[in-house]
Amino acid sequence: MKWIVVFILASCSLVYSQPQKTFELVSKMDGIHFLDNNDTTNIWGYSFYNSEGTPKPKLPSPTLVVNEGDSVHIVMYNTSGEGHTIHMHGLDADQANDGVPHLSYFVSPHVDTGNYRFVAKHAGNYMYHCHVTSTLHVTMGMYGAFIVKAQGGVNQVYTGGPTYTKEYIYFSSDMQKSWNDDYMSIGPFNKYKPDRFLINGIEKNQLFQDSSQVIQAQAGDTVLLRLINLGYSAVKYEFPSQLNATFFTSDGRILNPTEKSDTLTLFPGERTSVLLYFNSSYSGYIKVHYHSLYHMKGIGFNEIGINLFSPSSINEQIISTNNCKIYPNPTSGIVNINFQIDGNEKINIEAVLFDVSGKLVKTDRLFHQKESLDYSNLTNGVYILKLTGRNFSETLKIIKN
């Protein structure tokens, strides 16, 4: 009998010794979101509760970070006009805490409060999202990343796993903007056709204008990418081969063996931890393709920058080809071009600038060995410069910042 009491007490102490992490979220349906080209649309989401006034939701909702072994308590207040839940995608919470209407806590409109409790058992990448009419509420933006770090919060991909020096979360999703614009008249839900393809809620040029979205790493860094996909598309990442991309976890579980590849495709709901090894300095891009789940053809595209805005790259990077040198790139306005063309050949080059959507922005005609293009009036972002002349053709990427 004495041993039973001791066992029960020991069990209780173990339960209560688990660190407790509590988050207070408010579900809200009044967000305004900025997309590329200063387009705006409506979003719904979750915001951290603030007794002095909870802010409007952002896309995605706040990233929640805990450590492996933590006991997690999420309090959700609903002041919006519709019912909501929080589904902890991949956390394998028990039925009551799974966030599925009719099976778990459902948080009624206006004044209700819900509680979700679970233990974060495995380090890795997860997400949370509303599971009420998911076809509407997820599309409207009710989702965010949930990160379980290794025990103690150390910089290991998983407890006892490889270490990293920096980490970035890239959460892919999509939207059919007209649905967000006019969410009272959307549907039928099977006709969803995404036309905005997002990473961390933003797209295209925005990913370069926000320096926090650009990977900043020096030689010797090992960078952890936490890749999460909640779109309706299969998202294919293309990593620069120089960075030896290696995959260590999938859906919050250790991959054994690890997998090395320059490409990774995430279907809706999937997550992967990827390490990039910067054995030397590197700047460039990770390409992100969005593929239809019908024919797997590309329907959207983004790029994640790597070291685009480091001090060295701003002033010193020179694009050098067999035909010309272009500098500085990124530029604040003036782009210098030195053509390396046979001196006897007359220079007559058309310089056409497109934005990343392919829209023509500016055309210039160049006649001299050394030329300057003035892009001061352009909004910041990434552009494609096509240089075309007789026996001469170059396509280059220009960054304005």
Binding site: H87, D92, Q95, D251
Partner: protein, 282 residues
Amino acid sequence: MKAKFIFIFLLQASLGFSGVVSDTIYINSGFLVTATDSFYVLSYNDSPTFNQSNYVINIDKDDTLLLSIKNNHSQKHNFNIDGISGIDTSAILFGSFKTISISGLQPNAYIFYDNYVYNSYLGLKSVLVVKDYNYKHYVLNVREFMTDWNDKLFNSVTPTSSYLPNCFTVNGKSYPDTKTDSLSKIVGNVGDTIIVYMVNSGLYHHAMHTHGYHILILKSNKEPHKIGRSKDSIALYTDEVLMTRVVPDQPGMYPIHDHNLISVTNGGNYPGGMITMFHIMP
């Protein structure tokens, strides 16, 4: 309709008993009914009576399958097994039947189908399971339809519109009917070992998500690099067969659904379509 006869083959004495399994499948036509739609389909059934859920053939490792295919449909059909060569794939005319013998199959699940145009799309794609275990197993055969195409094919008109599916099924049924379907609702107890075959017989790729549990991928006919992964969100490509194992560690009712959310609808309304359930008891 299945009769199993056990013969002892002296040459295989060292392997113990080998069985000859005789089975018959019928190619039937009828109407698949969901909460919002009713449309023309074809189906493999174990009797001459139409059933909108395709029949799954089950045999044990080392069994020889004597399979008769009876065509009850007004058009000709043929019979193929994905990854298996040497099968007589000649036409089976209306009212006639063909018997084939298959042996030596490795433990796995194999898609069998009719490759005449649109017949697989209309439903003639099911699974032969060859098992070497004694656990309970389920087959989740997911497939989507564009009912406008089915209506046209019923009237012998070739569909020309873009494929925009509006009906999503698991074993020929859509949620909420799947909640009570013994083929699709996975029932067990905590600690059970349950084998779940996920099969995509549709034209779309799907992304199956399990609530409550991670499941271990044991086999894949399309992406063997996935074998050994413990997943809660699983890419399921067209014509892919995944053999997975789940050992539930908690009781409860948890959804299994496609996370390409167009697929959790019936006629464009949520919830519906490709959703089924775990029902795990203590």
